[in-house]
């Protein structure tokens, strides 16, 4: 099945929850909806599922208009943030339940449950009750049930948010493999950029009910269309600086002036916002011509092999992700270095004027 949303808008009372969203989700695709809490991810999924009808626009499945069709008449499966299973049924029966409702033959149920259990590493627990399992296993049970249904559309609303960090990591790694084995359309909502990147596939970034960009995940990450998309798709938060370009030189908010190189060389004179991710800000001189920013350290956070150093450069709070353990006292004066090839340049309206040039290998 191919699912197409045409200019879908959802209003509830005076509020617009989804505005003018158009998306095409091809068969067998993995689609990530990335956005902060309240960006409209859940509402969009409910519209896709048919749990809600759009106020405007159409939803097409394989070219057929399914706009008003309720969820029962569509072949949809959903996995939620909470682990939702039938507590009194065994894991086996939990996975089998939608097939029993659909009247699938006993032998077929057995085969599909075993297949899904193998895929999700649940085979040893099939006889247990969900509450006797760990959170990760409970959520695997819910996912197995969704997969067994052979739904055309599988919607997952932050399915890993309630799991321990390590379990999350494990399932994240497995999910793309599991998705690829089924051929359904997967839609996966998350607030975490790292999760989107780990899952791959295609990403649609959402902000205040609008889809700001859609494309292959790494492309949206590296080549955001606008400042909002870049912000939504950055963790740590995107570093930004307001700069003024005139006559081949760039004035920085910290007062200094540098030669316009890298991405800044490619744009006409004017006022811009440059955005760059934490790992593109260095605290040691770079082997290329780099923009130097005088700054003071505000907090240094050490993660083991790397350090997040929060620095204040002029009015801006920036975060640098640097290799190694950097124990920097707050108030220490440092120079931060920015490779101008990695600066995303946004015009006054927040549209991208130039993006990340591929670094020389």
């Amino acid at each position: 099945m191919t699912l197409i949303l045409e200019s879908v808008t959802k209003r509830v009372g005076p509020e617009t929850h989804i505005r003018d969203v158009s998306l095409a989700l091809p068969k067998g695709s993995l689609n990530v909806l990335l956005g902060q809490t309240l960006a409209g991810k859940t509402t969009l999924m409910r519209l896709m599922a048919g749990l809600e009808a759009p106020s405007e626009g159409r939803i097409l499945a394989d070219g057929k208009d399914v706009t008003g069709l309720p969820v029962q008449r569509r072949n949809v499966a959903m996995v939620y943030q909470q682990f939702i299973n039938y507590p009194s049924l065994s894991v086996y029966e939990n996975i089998a339940s939608p097939m029993r409702v659909a009247g699938v033959a006993r032998a077929e149920i057995e085969a599909r449950v075993q297949e899904a259990a193998a895929l999700l590493r649940l085979a040893p627990y099939l006889k247990r009750k969900p509450l006797e399992l760990s959170g990760g296993q409970q959520q695997r049970t819910a996912i197995a049930r969704a997969l067994c249904k052979r739904a055309d559309l599988v919607l997952m609303d932050e399915p890993l948010a309630n799991l321990d960090y390590k379990l999350r990591e494990e399932l994240r790694e497995e999910l793309p493999r599991i998705f690829a084995a089924t051929g359904a359309i997967f839609v996966y909502a998350t607030t975490e950029p790292a999760e989107a990147l780990m899952l791959g596939g295609r990403t649609a970034t959402l902000h205040q009910g609008r889809v700001t960009q859609v494309g292959p995940t790494p492309d949206v990450y590296r080549r955001p269309d606008d400042l909002i998309t870049a912000k939504v798709f950055s963790d740590p938060p995107l570093n930004t600086l307001s700069v003024l370009k005139a006559g081949g030189r760039v004035t920085l908010p910290t007062g200094g002036q540098v030669r316009a190189t890298g991405t800044l060389a490619t744009v006409p004179d004017g006022a811009y916002t440059i955005g760059f991710r934490a790992h593109h800000l260095a605290l040691d001189p770079l082997p290329v011509e780099a923009i130097a920013l005088p700054a003071t350290v505000s907090v240094a956070e050490i993660t083991g092999s790397e350090s997040f150093v929060h620095i204040d450069a002029g009015e801006s709070r920036l975060i640098a992700l640097v290799a190694g353990v950097r124990r920097l006292e707050p108030g220490t004066a440092v120079t931060a270095w920015l490779d101008p090839r990695h600066a995303l340049v946004f015009d006054a309206a927040g549209r991208t004027a130039a993006f990340d040039l591929p670094a020389a290998a």
Binding site: H207, G209, T240
Partner: protein
């Protein structure tokens, strides 16, 4: 808009419409019909217009006086039982165990009075409070308190109020208990850390969290007590004199005792309107409380807002209920 709305759902509601039509709408129409006519039996009716209503709402007329007496009596009764049952219910709910085996025991015990049919409740108390053979009545008389609910208005009121409190306090308590159970442990821990006294915990955590269920409890108990009929009818039959003649009892006396159908119909319509308007008031208050509890997204990153202003129509606010846990 190309939305195709599924109309079949109406079919499912049809039986309800049919039942409601036969059980409520048709009888109500009959009542409306009666309320504008006078009858002297033999199925003969005479047009009376709004005469009954004018008489009913005029306290100086005999009929109006009787109506307002019953109405005040009824309101007083509701006020008294609310004033007793709500604080008592809260107190009971607060003293119930929050976990362990005794929870189930308490819940069953509390539910018992609610399971007894109303006329049985009336009969139980009628016997219990009799001054000759009743356990309570004879005991009170023996210790020197002159108690006879059939003879003294005060005794009748005390008995009816006590009976209602006995019968219905557990409903308030159970509702409050449900409200209390929904408070996460972290709140109590935080309050202990903050050095809050029991009273402060009640005022700042428990009461606000119980507000919703309390409103429901008050609504239910008000409606029920305002429409009370069976128990006082069984116990006192509205007496002594008219001391416990509440609206519903008066209505039955008028309609079935005196067969004054026109007056009774007018009275029951007004009675109905009072109940509906009280319901509406409660409903409005309750939905407003809900709206007040909704979190509103107010603090967004100023930088984001500025950026958004550049390229987007400003701020869509989406209800935050999903954020909470």
């Amino acid at each position: 808009m190309t939305k195709t709305v599924n109309q079949k759902a109406w079919l499912l509601v049809l039986p309800v419409f049919a039942v409601v039509a036969f059980s409520a709408v048709l009888p109500l129409m009959t009542v409306v019909n009666y309320s504008v006519q006078d009858t002297f039996g033999n199925n003969q009716f005479f047009w009376n217009g709004l005469g009954w209503f004018q008489e009913l709402l005029d306290p100086t007329s005999q009929f109006g006086e009787r109506f307002f007496d019953s109405l005040w009596r009824n309101l007083l009764f509701s006020a008294i039982i609310l004033a007793i049952e709500v604080p008592l219910g809260i107190a009971v709910a607060l003293s119930m165990p929050r976990e362990g085996r005794s929870v189930a025991f308490c819940l069953v015990l509390m539910a018992l009075p609610l399971l007894i049919p109303w006329n049985v409740v009336g009969t139980i108390w009628q016997v219990f409070a009799r001054s000759d053979i009743g356990l309570l009545g004879s005991f009170l008389n023996r210790i020197g308190i002159d108690y006879n609910y059939a003879g003294s208005a005060l005794a009748a009121w005390v008995t009816i109020v006590t009976m209602d409190v006995w019968h219905w306090t557990s409903l308030v308590a159970l509702l409050c208990y449900a409200g209390l159970k929904s408070i996460p442990d972290a709140y109590y821990q935080a309050a202990r850390i903050d050095g809050a006294s029991q009273w402060a915990i009640f005022r700042t955590i428990q009461l606000p969290k119980m507000r919703r269920v309390l409103l429901i409890a008050v609504l239910l108990r008000f409606m029920d007590s305002f429409m009370i009929y069976t128990e006082p009818f069984v116990l006192t039959g509205g007496g002594p004199g008219n001391a416990t003649t509440f609206l519903s009892i008066d209505l039955v006396k008028l309609a079935l005792g005196q067969f004054d159908l026109g007056r009774a119909a007018a009275m029951s319509l007004v009675y109905n309107l009072i109940i509906l308007s009280v319901c509406w008031v409660f409903y409005t208050v309750m939905t407003n409380v809900d709206a007040g509890n909704r979190t509103v997204l107010t603090e967004s990153d100023p930088a984001d807002a500025a950026a958004a202003a550049g390229s987007l129509p400003q701020a869509t606010t989406i209800p935050l209920d999903r954020r909470a846990a």
